[in-house]
Amino acid sequence: MASASNATDLELTHTVDNMIAVVQLRGHLDSNTQVAAETYFKMVVTSGSARVVLDLSQVDFISSAGLRAVLTLLKLVKGSHGALAVCASQPPVKQLFEFSGLKTLFLILPTVDEGRAALVARFG
């Protein structure tokens, strides 16, 4: 299954395979695109995919607003007894996650395949 959404500076698509949704973002995740991203995340989780891999390989910038959008997604998946893996972050984005101390709350992995494998391993 695939779906897509366009905010001003952010393109969102997702595919679902084996009950794991891979959400790919392309562009900036900041205060301009936060609401669009949160709406899209909500749509993904409420449509039945509570195991989410967030592919950030095409995201060159995340601000605190973007970080809060990711936290919203985390709350949604946790609320649905799922899990979140954030994958393929570029160095500045990865650094922001490190500064924020969020690695204990969700998986931060180098590639999407590793993220998918980690969720498969956890939920079988």
Binding site: F61, S63, S64, L67, K75, L96, E98, F99, G101
Partner: protein, 533 residues
């Protein structure tokens, strides 16, 4: 007036203006340090009734010889919430007739009194034993500078009376009443004292240099001049302080226009003029003019009484509240709330959430996310946050005084400790924003520290969510975001200290920013709901 004396007058005028503004700033900043609830109650008692407020206004007007100065001093008192706006308007309105009393009396040597105020307040501020009263002496010093500035302005204008062109104007005044009115307006803009103008005119009239009707018309014109002068000097004011200056302008323009209109009607024979009415008594012409001046100034108080019910509506339309001013005012805590400890602490928590919701904007100037940047004044926001924090701290101190049981005292002591952390957090956030915003764009330092700023911003939002709501997930996220990461940050420090990172100045700034980030994280951890009783 010779070229040399004109230059001297211009120099004195400029210096007077600078002293005036330094005094104004000094009063405002010192009063902020004094803004305890106890001091506020004393100021409120001094103006408890309209009569007391009126008497205080007359007294202040008579002493300072300038209702404009009174308006600016009261602006500081109202903005620090010593006085209600309504009471301050009454004091200012009655300061106007207060200034007119000096037209009857021989001029008090305000210059000498001003120098004593400056000297004694300045010396007192240097005494370590009196250090805890520095805010009071600072305010007195500010008043001294403000009055000294006005004295200098008047001295600069004094030679005008002897100038040939001034005599030419007075001759022209005897021809046209309207010209006399306009000249009064202009003179008041130059000579920052209506009573000084009145005294000069009374002297000129006494010597037969100007007709009494023309002299009183010049005095009436000063009403417009006061209004324009207050508006010009109050350009930098905001909020209630600006509202008071507007009110002073409105009532003086109305009283000047009323008296001027009356004289014009008398001129065409519709009704007797005030000069004619007063001349029917056995008063000397000098006293007649002084009384006419007093009546005009008293009209300000009359217009104040007539318009005061509508004053808040008029003034809030003319000077709407800025977001920062709204923020500085407590939205939940009140005098009555201090009686029930649980309610008091809950209301304080809500005020703290307001601070935490607003504080991230202190980082806007340093954000990587430029779309978040606002045009709001960082200094104004910081001042408002500190003002609200001070209010909360004073409220809690007052609650502690009222607490009877040990458990109540413990509750309040703990709340005071948390509020202290809030105050430290405001300063740490502001310092981080200042440090990072000073970095050049596009450098390794600005990229790294921009990340710290974004992470701090997210942390503060989560902290506010965790304090405001009951979502366990918010608390879990906050715990993760504020967890001890000294090892990780030590590694970032080592990276920033390497020679490839940037210039020594950029390295030093980055290391300081990392320390500030750690401090914000530590303070946020202390404010987490789990840390509360």
């Amino acid at each position: 007036m010779s070229g040399e004396s004109a230059f001297d007058s211009a120099s004195a005028f400029l210096a007077g203006l600078v002293f005036f503004f330094i005094g104004l700033d000094g009063i405002r900043s010192s009063l902020k340090g004094l803004a305890s609830r106890e001091m506020r109650r004393r100021a409120q008692r001094a103006t408890a009734s309209p009569l007391r407020a009126a008497l205080l206004g007359i007294g202040l007007g008579a002493i300072t010889q300038s209702a404009t100065a009174v308006a600016f001093v009261l602006g500081g008192l109202v903005s620090t919430r010593f006085l209600s706006l309504q009471r301050a308007l009454t004091v200012v309105a009655f300061a106007n007739p207060g200034t007119a009393l000096l037209a009857f009396l021989a001029a008090i040597n305000l210059n000498v009194a001003t120098l004593w105020v400056i000297g004694l307040a300045g010396l007192a501020m240097r005494q370590r034993r009196l250090a805890h009263h520095n805010a009071v002496f600072g305010a007195l010093l500010g008043i001294g500078f403000l009055l000294f500035g006005l004295v200098e302005l008047k001295l600069a204008a004094a030679p005008l009376g002897k100038a040939a062109w001034f005599e030419a104007i007075t001759a022209a005044l005897n021809v046209s009443l309207l010209l006399a009115f306009v000249v009064g307006t202009a003179l008041r803009l130059v000579i920052q004292s209506s009573s000084a103008i009145a005294v000069i005119l009374i002297a000129l009239c006494g010597k037969g240099l100007i007709e009494p009707t023309q002299a009183i018309m010049v005095i009436h014109g000063t009403g417009i001049g006061i209004g324009l002068s207050v508006l010009m000097l109050g350009q930098g004011l905001r909020g209630d302080a600006r509202r008071i200056s507007y009110w002073q302008a409105i009532i003086n323009v109305l009283s000047g226009s009323f008296m001027g209109g009356w004289l014009l009607l008398a001129w065409v024979g519709v009704l007797p003029s005030i000069i004619e009415l007063l001349s029917r008594t056995s008063l000397k012409i000098e006293t007649v003019l002084a009384t006419g001046f007093f009546v005009q100034m008293s009209m300000g108080a009359v217009f104040n009484a007539l318009l005061s019910p509508a004053a808040p509506r008029i003034l809030s339309r003319l000077v709407p509240d800025h977001a920062e001013e709204e923020l500085a005012k407590p939205a939940f805590i009140s005098e009555n709330a201090s009686n029930t400890p649980e309610i008091a602490v809950e209301l304080v928590r809500r005020e703290q959430v307001r601070i935490l919701r607003a504080a991230p904007a202190l980082l806007d100037r340093a954000r990587l996310d430029r779309t978040q940047s606002t045009s709001r004044s960082n200094a104004a926001l910081h001042t408002s946050l500190v003002a609200l924090h001070t209010e909360i701290a004073s409220f809690l101190a007052e609650c502690t005084e009222h607490a009877h049981a040990h458990t109540e005292s413990t509750l309040f002591v703990h709340a005071i400790g948390r509020e202290q952390v809030v105050g430290e957090l405001i300063d740490a956030i502001d310092a981080l924003g200042t440090e990072v915003s000073a970095m050049s764009d596009g450098t390794s330092a600005s990229t790294l520290c921009g990340g710290l700023v974004e992470a701090t911003d997210a942390m503060l939002h989560v902290l506010a969510d965790a304090l405001e709501g009951t979502d366990e997930m918010d608390r879990e996220i906050l715990a993760a975001m504020t967890s001890d990461r000294s090892e990780q940050l030590e590694s970032v420090r080592r990276s920033a200290a390497s020679t490839r990172f940037g210039t020594p100045r950029e390295q030093a700034a980055t290391l300081y920013a990392i320390s500030l980030f750690e401090r914000v994280m530590y303070l946020a951890r202390r404010l987490a709901p789990e840390a509360a009783v």
